[in-house]
């Protein structure tokens, strides 16, 4: 082994490690990092697109079985709803709310920034995705992220200049104030439990929550507008003696099927101030 050569490479690798460690302290890191992001982001976008399409192909059979199972489950639910006129009225109300929510972007004071998913954290309970927009695009921590139809996906949890992390609704650290479409004000907090599971906690005992009720964002947080659909109530748990009830929520958004997201930004936060 050529000792001089090997020493040079070890020194270079060591110098690189130390530089990567100390650049953030010197404040130079964001610029260098941003340059690397500019170079690598197009490759990441292509890689994520290929991965995503491959996923869809590999899971097509599994998806058909899942669709069939879900179809049967939905048929049971529809039959139950048809027998109950009160539920029919609730469905009408839900329909009205959904229509309103579909157009909420035009009506609300929010505009949106489209973003592509370029990375995911799947094996931890703190479920998160990485998107190709960052602080330079006007993103801020806490902003709501939705799927194309207006379904609530999660919130921005960390930012760099050109990329950002979105903490998913079902992530273990996710907390979102929630309400019901027909109700007024906040009725509880949707907490992520990992493994694509979320639950609605701190529901007062006097609050009526039924299976299949649509849970939406309460709008009590500064950067999360109200009425973004979160999910449907699956099961309501809790004894009458408990101070609060808990409901298991089935999220409406299927993150595996998504490539593009929208980050909601209040109009007042636009860079041009319009």
């Amino acid at each position: 082994m050529d000792m001089r050569h090997s020493r040079t490479v070890i020194l270079l690798v060591g110098f690189g490690c130390i530089t990567v460690l100390f650049l953030p302290i010197m404040g130079a890191f964001p610029h260098i990092e941003s340059t690397f992001h500019v170079i690598l982001l197009p490759i990441n976008r292509v890689a994520s697109s290929i991965g995503s399409s491959l996923h869809r192909r590999m899971e097509s059979n599994a998806a058909l079985e899942e669709l069939s199972r879900r179809n049967q489950e939905l048929e049971r639910r529809v039959a139950a709803l048809a027998l109950d006129t009160a539920a029919f009225e609730a469905a009408q109300e839900e329909n009205r709310s959904l229509r309103a929510m579909t157009n909420f972007l035009e009506e609300s004071r929010y505009d949106y920034i489209p973003a592509r998913i370029i990375g995911r954290t799947t094996e931890t309970l703190d479920e998160a995705i990485i998107i190709d927009r960052g602080a330079r695009d006007g993103l801020e921590v806490g902003m709501a992220v939705i799927a194309n139809e207006g379904l609530f996906v999660g919130k921005i949890t960390a930012l760099k200049e050109r990329i950002a992390t979105v903490g998913l609704l079902t992530g273990e650290r996710s907390r979102v104030a929630a309400s019901m479409t027909e109700g007024e004000g906040m009725i509880g907090v949707v907490e992520g439990r990992g493994n694509r599971v979320a639950r609605l906690t701190f529901i007062p005992q006097e609050q009526r929550v039924e299976t299949d009720a649509l849970i939406v964002t309460a709008g009590t947080e500064e950067k999360v507008p109200r009425n973004l659909p979160i999910g449907l109530v699956n099961v309501v748990e809790g004894k009458p003696t408990d101070p609060f009830k808990i409901a298991i929520i089935e999220p409406l958004v299927n993150i595996d099927a998504l490539d593009l997201l929208l980050v909601l930004r209040a109009s007042a936060l636009r860079p041009d101030g319009t």
Partner: protein
Amino acid sequence: MNMLIHLHRLRWPFLVICGCVLGVIEVSFLPFLPSPWHSLHIALSFSALTVILGRSPLSGLMLAFTSGVVIDLFSLSHVTLAVLRFPLIALLAFTLARRFVTHRSLPSLIMLMVAVQILNEAWLRAFDGIARTFFGSGIELAMFEAVLINCIWSGILGSAAFFIWRRFRADFNRISTEAQPEAWI
């Protein structure tokens, strides 16, 4: 032979590109695949393999460093520091291979590859413990299934590499003896 020596000069750029590709695959390709593929971490396994089976550990170190840089570039938590973790674990694997376990038999190579994954997990758990003690919140650790999948994947990769390496080892030895020795450093 001149062509081989000429190709050798391109080894470092080639390793940097390979490291970047491994990093990009780990950050933006594998996480989109269904289970169990999305849990795989290939950069560390390939780097460790290059360190263990290569003629010089430097190629593996360079691979580990560049893939670590790319992974850290797209990670918003710098606590786990792949840029430091990967080369250090690769070096540990090299020490294990040279001093304690031989890499000349299939079981020992599989053991080494699994040890790399265990070292990686131990590093993350140690950092998690430190972060929880001093900063109040830990890092996100992978679930047990993901660690197990990576150990199995490393074992399979090690086995495959062992057979390929054993098949071509004689050829490599012959070429390297014929070529200028310093060209293979």
